[in-house]
């Protein structure tokens, strides 16, 4: 039943052999040495400072949504860097390998990358940027912010949350190891039939690609289930649907897309795996297969996926604009409706990725119109943001700059998207770099929103602000880089440059390619500015400490608790009175009101099961890639056994007593008083009738020491 693979295979190691390690590759071998040295230094430092216990107890086994979110974001930033390096390699190859006179090194006729290696670089770039950089970054933010915004102690399923992270980490590990063991796919990030079939791609690259995608799809689906359940079931008292903060609405719509669309990807790739492993013919030209069926199945997931990544970014922008315009968000209801309209239409547009398939005028017209419909809710959002800023008291913080930058990019990307939605234009520029420039504009909207959010929510999570000067420096460098890379790319697209060229024949395009390369250099400077930003901010962290409301103009519930957020989020679950709860409390003078008495809190325990299962899924993916059947079976059985053991044991959780809570709260309040430098004003007298800060408790100002009572145990 199993397909005979070309090359050697043995029962123990599968296809793995010493010649699969690219130790003669002039790029990968030195990189491998550098990675090993870097890993030894990091592991050595952890050992030297005796941090293993801390790392294991506080991070690797945690089920705290904030720490998991931070790890998601770190993972995403590392992969964003890796994806950027891939982009740098692509641009450098194209500017070098331009025209017949161009030189070649490292075995390449032109440039420094052989076509096969170049194919792997652009495939990895796309896959990493969308699924292993943007997605973990956004999931990380949703993880941190959504439970805080709905006033929950944690996600609905804390252990499932950890599992989602470690499965995503397994996918990251799998794509990273493909650098040094075997090859990666050369079929583009979304793959084409029949090039990914075994006859045309006999190596393990495509297998790495399949299992990386399968794992990340699994991790994201689990995260989606968790977020939906959290938003539906875990809202604080008084948090009605139309008091939900807008980022939470955006997360809900995005995760409904994720939950419904990722299975389509998993099925599509499972069928590819059947073709490659079992010799079926789903996507071959003969034996009843259909090449375009793969493209169809992939984009049934693929287009909802791009809205899955853009909707949380819109949500982030919707949080940043009001905070720095000192106004409520304009058109809250229409914003919610627009998010769900985008989510709904996302299911009706996937054919626009292959207008040129030849499905005929009726089909193309339908999908063209459906695609253009997306412009309506998106336009609503753009106008809402503009009206939010209109006559607002705007502060141009770095976070606000990133959000405004995202708005401009959305205009560029959205309008070029409208052009591409017209089949007649699409036929002209299909597979040209015009399309590449378009979707990079859109994905840069996400990157801008993410960096804006990093600046906006960093003080909430870590308790101190990032340095404004370096954040703005990074913003301007990054924006200059974006313009220099992507404006010439739009032009080259119109001139006819197609995507994925390992050799660019037309020397007339050289000035444009050089401009793009200069843009990449400017991007490099912005990356450097980011590292300086982190260094300077951490160095000056004491000076930049903030209180609960880091910006003084924040509006939603997450700003009500201390900064950094205690592991139990809210000492007492707040009662929600208004849509912008903190703004409402500030207006009524009770924004610093504290609960008068505490009660015991039930919290989930840490667990190592999630990271073990993550590690085992990595082993499973690796074994499947190299066809080590015994290891597949072993890791699969181990995963199932762990699942059963865990579900048998369950988690009784543990209790933080009211007295312990009171002690921690008092310390947090003292910290806050030090930071704010003043005793909080007395509030609580002028609360409108019927409103309350905490269920069943009278409002008392911060100065009054809270009591744990003693009659409520």
């Amino acid at each position: 039943m199993l397909v005979q693979v070309p090359g050697g295979w043995n029962p123990l190691l599968g296809r793995l052999a010493i010649d699969q390690i690219p130790y003669t590759n002039p790029i990968l071998a030195p990189l491998f040495v550098a990675v090993v040295i870097g890993a030894v230094i990091i592991l050595g430092l952890i050992t030297y400072y005796h941090k293993w216990g801390y790392l294991w107890k506080e991070w690797l086994t945690t089920v705290d949504h904030k720490k998991l979110g931070v790890m998601y974001i770190i993972l995403g930033l590392v992969m964003l860097f890796r994806g950027f390096i891939d982009g740098l390699m692509i641009r450098t190859q194209q500017v070098w390998a331009n025209g017949p006179q161009s030189s070649g090194v490292f075995g390449a006729v032109h440039g420094y990358l052989t076509p096969f290696h170049f194919g792997q670089v652009y495939s990895a770039h796309g896959l990493i940027m969308i699924l292993l950089a943007a997605t973990p970054l956004l999931v990380g933010f949703m993880n941190i912010i959504v439970p805080l915004q709905v006033g929950a102690r944690d996600m609905a399923y804390p252990y499932l949350n950890a599992l989602g992270l470690w499965i995503t980490a397994a996918a990251v590990a799998l794509i990273m190891i493909s650098l040094f063991v075997g090859d990666f796919a050369h079929n583009g990030w979304f793959g084409y039939a029949p090039i990914f079939e075994l006859q045309y791609s006999p190596g393990v690259g495509v297998d790495y690609w399949i299992w990386t995608l399968e794992l990340t799809a699994l991790g994201t689906t689990l995260g989606g289930i968790n977020l939906i359940a959290t938003i539906v079931k875990m809202r604080a008292p008084g948090m009605t649907w139309f008091r939900l903060p807008i980022f939470t609405w955006a997360s809900l719509s995005a995760n409904i897309i994720a939950l419904t669309s990722f299975p389509a990807l998993q099925v599509a790739l499972f069928l590819v795996a059947c073709d490659r492993y079992l010799g079926s013919h789903f996507f071959t030209a003969g034996f009843g297969g259909n090449l375009m069926l793969y493209t169809n199945l992939f984009w049934i997931w693929g287009h909802p996926e791009v809205y899955f990544v853009i909707l949380p970014a819109f949500g982030m922008m919707s949080e940043i604009f009001p905070a720095f315009s000192e106004k409520p968000l304009f058109g809250y209801i229409t914003m919610v409706a627009a998010s769900f309209a985008i989510a709904g239409v996302s299911w009706l547009v996937w054919l626009h990725h292959f207008f040129t398939m030849g499905a005929g005028p009726d089909v193309n017209s339908f999908f063209s119109v459906a695609t253009m419909l997306v412009g309506i809710p998106t336009g609503v959002k753009v106008f809402n943001w503009a009206f939010t800023m209109y006559r607002g008291r705007i502060t141009y913080t770095a976070a606000m700059l990133w959000a405004i930058g995202a708005l401009f990019l959305l205009l560029v990307g959205g309008l070029t998207g409208m052009m591409l939605a017209i089949p007649a234009i699409n036929y002209m520029v299909h597979n040209s770099v015009f399309v590449i420039a378009h979707f990079h504009s859109m994905l840069l909207v996400i990157v801008y929103a993410i960096f804006g959010s990093v600046l906006f929510w960093f003080p909430k999570v870590f308790g101190f602000k990032l340095d404004e000067f370096w954040a703005k420096t990074m913003f301007w460098l990054f924006s200059a880089g974006s313009v220099l890379v992507f404006v010439p790319m739009y032009m080259l697209g119109f001139m006819g440059q197609t995507r994925r060229l390992d050799y660019v024949f037309n020397t007339a395009w050289h000035p444009y390619l050089v401009t793009e390369e200069i843009g990449i250099a400017v991007y490099c400077l912005s990356v450097a500015a980011f590292f300086v930003l982190l260094y300077v901010s951490i160095r000056d962290r004491v000076k930049n400490r903030v209180g609960q409301d880091a910006w003084g103009t924040s509006r939603s519930l997450e700003w009500l608790t201390h900064s950094p957020v205690p592991f139990y989020n809210f000492a007492v679950t707040p009662h929600v009175n208004a849509r912008d709860e903190l703004a409402w409390r500030r207006h009524n003078g009770i924004n610093e009101a504290q609960p008068t008495q505490y009660v015991d809190i039930h919290m989930p325990n840490n667990t190592g099961v999630a990271i073990y299962i993550g590690a085992l899924t990595f082993v499973l993916g690796f074994a499947l890639t190299w066809r080590m059947w015994w290891l597949c079976l072993l890791s699969l059985v181990a995963i199932i056994a762990l699942m059963i053991v865990r579900s048998w044991r369950g988690d009784p959780g543990y209790i933080i007593t009211a007295a312990e809570l009171e002690k921690m709260e008092r310390e947090a309040m003292q910290r806050q008083q030090q930071v704010e430098g003043h005793l909080p004003h007395h509030g609580g007298q002028a609360v409108p009738g019927g409103a309350m800060a905490y269920e069943g408790q009278k409002v008392s100002p911060l100065g009054t020491p809270p009591s744990s009572g003693g009659d409520h145990h």
């Binding site: 929950a152 604080a236 409904i256 169809n296 049934i300 299911w347 499905a359 005929g360 089909v363």
Partner: protein
């Protein structure tokens, strides 16, 4: 909306599950899958008839799985299952229906008609 720590075993959707229900659902799916595989590998009918028969098998299997394994019905305590069903139906129609439409249009232009299709 505060979340109680009540016994999850007592949740109505958990109460609905029974060994017999799961076993019945599993058995029906297994039998239908085996029957479909057997009919296809023995070419029991002409291609078009075969297509029809295995489609019917698949439809019955889906309904059995929805009922016996996923416990989706329209009762009060299953409201979220009903919501997901309501969401699922248009998605199912869109993805399958639009795919069928685009490929039938594509085949009009690119494929010789398969024998037995008419």
């Amino acid at each position: 909306m505060s979340h109680g720590h009540d016994n999850p075993i007592l949740h109505p959707e958990v109460q609905m599950s029974s060994t017999r229900g799961y076993f019945t659902g599993f058995l029906i799916s297994l039998v239908l899958m085996a029957a479909a595989t057997a009919m296809v590998s023995s070419h029991a009918f002409p291609p078009f008839g075969l297509l029809m028969v295995i489609t019917i098998c698949a439809a019955i299997a889906i309904i059995a799985q929805i009922y016996f394994l996923l416990h989706i019905d329209v009762s009060e305590h299953n409201i979220w299952n009903t919501v997901s069903l309501v969401l699922f139906i248009p998605l199912f129609i869109f993805t399958i229906g639009l795919t069928w439409w685009m490929f039938s249009q594509l085949y009009l232009r690119t494929m010789p008609m398969m024998p037995g299709m008419h």
